[in-house]
């Protein structure tokens, strides 16, 4: 096992792992980010055996597909930040969207 850059770890056999801190990121942000990578890679998420506040995300190349690299894992980390911002915005202001939809359909809900 070769440490490339914390928290990205090369696991061998064409797979890499990144550890995500649940104190900083929501599970839905992690899953939404992982989903975007399912076109090119097999993605696995699991709680770290020794720390339930850490989720390990493992990306593995599909047969004859694009190889996982440290760069891809770093991009995953950046995408994770975008996804977390979306979660935060939705948590804070998503209720306004509900108000808009409710107001929009008020004429037919009378």
């Amino acid at each position: 096992m070769k440490n490339l850059k914390v928290p990205v770890v090369e696991l061998g056999n064409g797979s890499f792992q990144v550890s995500v801190d649940l104190n900083l990121y929501a599970v839905e942000a992690i899953t939404a980010t992982s989903y975007k990578y399912t076109d090119c890679f097999y993605v696995h998420q699991q709680t770290a055996p020794d720390n339930e506040k850490i989720v390990n995300v493992i990306l593995e190349a599909k047969n004859d597909g694009i190889l996982v690299t440290a760069e891809i894992m770093k991009q995953f980390c950046n995408d994770l930040i975008d996804q977390q911002v979306r979660v935060i915005i939705n948590e804070k202001f998503g209720h306004i969207r509900d108000l808009i939809v409710e107001a929009a359909f008020k004429p037919v809900n009378k």
Binding site: A32, Y35, K36, Y37, T38, D39, D82, Q83, V85, R86, I89, N90, K92, F93, G94, I96, R97, L99, I100, V101, E102, A103, A104, F105, K106, P107
Partner: protein
């Protein structure tokens, strides 16, 4: 310092290395430099700055009472979703599966011209018209599909006259369209269609060699393109209006690299618009994928080149519209709804359009009928000879399909920056990916639509006054 403003719901994505694109539910958009985006979401943007005023004018943030902005956004949202107000208005009817063409990408399993086994009966036709008028929509458009409906023109006439009779009592806004390759139309047929206000929609895939490769006639001794050209002229002469006939093109792998020639052919034949359309993965197009299909990335590159060429043609003074770009631009630049059944949220299948097959079977979309030709009946709602309107259009099956086709809550769509301009296509998802929800990261329709939306956004962001003028001229 934290500034006093409220951030309203929005979606975002990186647009390029330096900028973000932000959109909201009603389709407003704005580009923000990276540093401005960071300031904005951290409440560090000066609420007296021009940039903030831009954000506020697009209802992405406000210093006013949130309730007031909510009401304004609600009105816009209702307008965007107004397609839902009237329920199904497009009713596609298949009088026969007979056809005299043998298109290489045929999606229907056509019947030979002499094979009458898939002709509609008058009883079924009557029940179809009855079913159509049981719907609540004040607008009814009956579109004849096939096969080629002109091979059973007597049935087309019967349905038109039955619908006109029903409408004497129902008083809807009634219209007709016939989709035909034009080759069998006679002056008498065209005069009838004109009299009954039945528009003509046809197919033109490009110059002679390409059109005849993609859409050969079954009778090899006949020249499809030559007959097409002669009959377009005949139709226009009778109608006295160049826009009375519109054409659709389909991109086979033989069309790639030839978009300029295809566009030139449309212009040579006097058309004012084209819809650069990729191949649908149904029927023969799916069965013989290796022979006629291509990677979606190839289509996207061809589309961009074609669009650029069309923009230049317009800049040089010839009004000519690319239909898909015009549709998306209307969604981006105006608050209005657009009636394109294939790209709605919720999907337009069943609730905006439905198709009635020659035997009375009702499907949520033309593609659902095409799947049925290959023994897959997932999108069949029922049969007009056996089921009521309520059973078919308010049944469990249609509810389930629609519930799974709102892109506001589909994985990969819910937080997509292009969500307000896009839609869901559960039939295509099912056909290609095995379920109505689909898998966005590998979904070709998603890849294509996002790439084209991004390209249009790039054009808007370039802000070339001439290009913008062209775009606005396309939005009726």
């Amino acid at each position: 310092m934290k500034n006093e403003y409220t951030i309203l719901p929005f979606r975002f994505d990186h647009f390029n290395e330096e900028e973000y694109l932000l959109t909201n539910d009603v389709g407003e958009y704005i580009f923000l430099k990276n540093e401005d985006f960071e300031k904005f979401i951290n409440y560090e943007l000066d609420s007296k700055s021009d940039l903030f005023y831009d954000l506020a004018s697009k209802q992405i943030a406000t210093t006013d009472k949130v309730e007031d902005v909510v009401n304004m956004l609600a009105t816009k949202f209702r307008t965007k979703k107004s397609i839902l107000r009237d329920f199904t208005s497009l009713h596609m009817v298949v009088p026969t599966l007979r056809c005299n063409s043998s298109c290489i990408y045929c999606q229907v399993k056509r019947h030979e011209s002499s094979d009458h086994s898939a002709d509609m009966t008058k009883k079924t036709a009557k029940n179809i018209v009855k079913c159509i008028f049981e719907g609540p929509s004040p607008y009814i458009k009956i579109e004849f599909q096939g096969g080629d409906p002109s091979t059973d023109f007597e049935m087309v006439k019967y349905i038109i006259e039955e619908a006109e009779w029903q409408n004497l009592f129902k008083k809807r806004e009634l219209g007709f369209v016939i989709c035909t390759n034009l080759t069998l139309l006679t002056p008498e047929m065209v005069k009838y269609l004109k009299k009954h206000k039945c528009d003509i929609s046809t197919s033109l895939d490009g110059p002679k060699d390409l059109h005849d490769t993609n859409r050969p006639l079954q009778d090899k001794s006949l020249d499809h393109h030559e007959i097409f050209e002669k009959n377009v002229k005949m139709v226009r002469d009778i109608w006295g209006d160049a826009d009375c006939v519109s054409a659709l093109m389909t991109t086979s792998k033989y069309s790639l690299g030839r978009y300029k020639e295809i566009i030139d052919e449309y212009i040579r034949l006097g058309f004012n618009n084209i819809f650069l359309r990729s191949l649908n993965p149904y029927g023969f197009a799916k069965e013989y994928k290796d022979k006629v299909s291509y990677p979606i990335e190839d289509f996207i590159e061809n589309f961009k080149e074609g669009l650029d060429y069309i923009i230049e043609i317009n800049k040089n003074g010839r009004f000519f519209v690319e239909g898909f770009a015009a549709l998306l631009l209307k969604r981006i630049l105006t608050p209005f709804a657009t009636g394109f059944v294939d790209l709605q949220s919720p999907a337009g299948v069943g609730i905006a359009g439905a198709i009635y097959d020659y035997d009375g079977s009702v499907y949520v979309a033309d593609e659902g009928r095409m799947l049925a030709r290959f023994k897959n009946y997932y999108f069949k709602l029922g049969n007009v000879n056996e089921n009521t309107f309520q059973e078919m259009f308010n049944g469990k099956q249609l509810h389930e399909i629609i519930e799974n086709s709102c892109n506001e809550c589909l994985p990969g769509c819910a937080d997509c920056v292009f969500q307000p301009y896009c839609g869901a296509d559960p039939v295509r998802n099912y056909s290609v990916q095995g379920d109505v929800v689909g898998h966005r990261p590998t979904n070709e329709m998603c890849i294509k639509t996002k790439a084209i939306l991004r390209y249009l956004m790039e054009k808007l962001h370039e802000d070339d006054p001439e290009t913008i003028k062209v775009f606005w001229s396309w939005i009726k």
